[in-house]
Symmetry: C2
Subunit: 153 residues, 2 copies
């Protein structure tokens, strides 16, 4: 797992939230995930397959942050994690991975994306079952936290 | 989403549980997932990417069934959904998808698998964000229920 894989995902999430929801979130220091477990309420997950590697990526949001993204995008705040929210999380997952894919492809690192899956459930945790190191990128905001996790074999 | 995609996954899960845990589970009728939502406590998810298609697969277990699989495999029942259980669910996810992949490849339908991701959280739900139809395959057992969901674009 090379460090240059981190920034394309980190920059893509910041960019997607700024563009879609005029929202600023603050990246914290990315780190290797060892015993640490990110906990959240709604997560988008996507598989990646390339000639050189394969892996997985997840974006986990606390519920209040996900609802505030909807509010800023649509001018209306949903009551809970309904299908509109999970559609939005799936779309963000696609956009962040697609953005990172384009940047990484310029460096000669190619992969194809599977379709995203969105998990809802209060305080769920995610474990990437991948031979490589797992990198966790925490983000904070006034509405709650988010985490990206990536792992490439 | 062609119906011949269903049986390879269904047969692989039955076969994996019989082989690994000498456990019989009963498949119920597969159906198109529309408004229905499968709920469970631990799920393995995997992305699939091929020349003809891409998609995602999930296997969701109720906690008691997952713990009983561990009990039958190892002779000891864990207290809860610890990392040994999520490793086992990730392994089952790999084996079921690998088994289905081999059967489908014989019919000329090829895909590569991403690495699996395992989600833990009581009563979580999963939504496959994929353009194709989602097929849900319920399984029952005396220890609890399981569900496979697949979607190919």
């Amino acid at each position: 797992m090379r460090a240059e894989f981190v920034n394309p995902f980190l920059a893509s999430l910041i960019n997607v939230l700024k563009t879609m929801a005029t929202m600023d979130i603050q990246p914290q220091k990315p780190r290797l995930k060892k015993d640490e477990i990110a906990r959240g309420d709604v997560s988008g997950l996507i598989g990646m397959v390339g000639k050189q590697t394969r892996g997985s990526m997840s974006i986990t949001f606390e519920e209040n942050l996900a609802l505030e993204i909807m509010n800023k995008m649509l001018g209306e705040r949903p009551n809970g994690l309904n299908e509109e929210v999970t559609d939005m999380v799936g779309e963000i997952t696609n956009m962040v991975t697609g953005g990172a894919k384009r940047i990484l492809a310029e460096g000669g690192f190619d992969f194809d994306m599977a379709t995203p899956v969105v998990v809802s459930g209060r305080g769920h945790t995610i474990r990437h079952k991948c031979e490589g190191s797992i990198i966790i990128m925490p983000f904070t905001s006034e509405w709650g936290n988010a985490f990206i996790e990536i792992c490439f074999e």
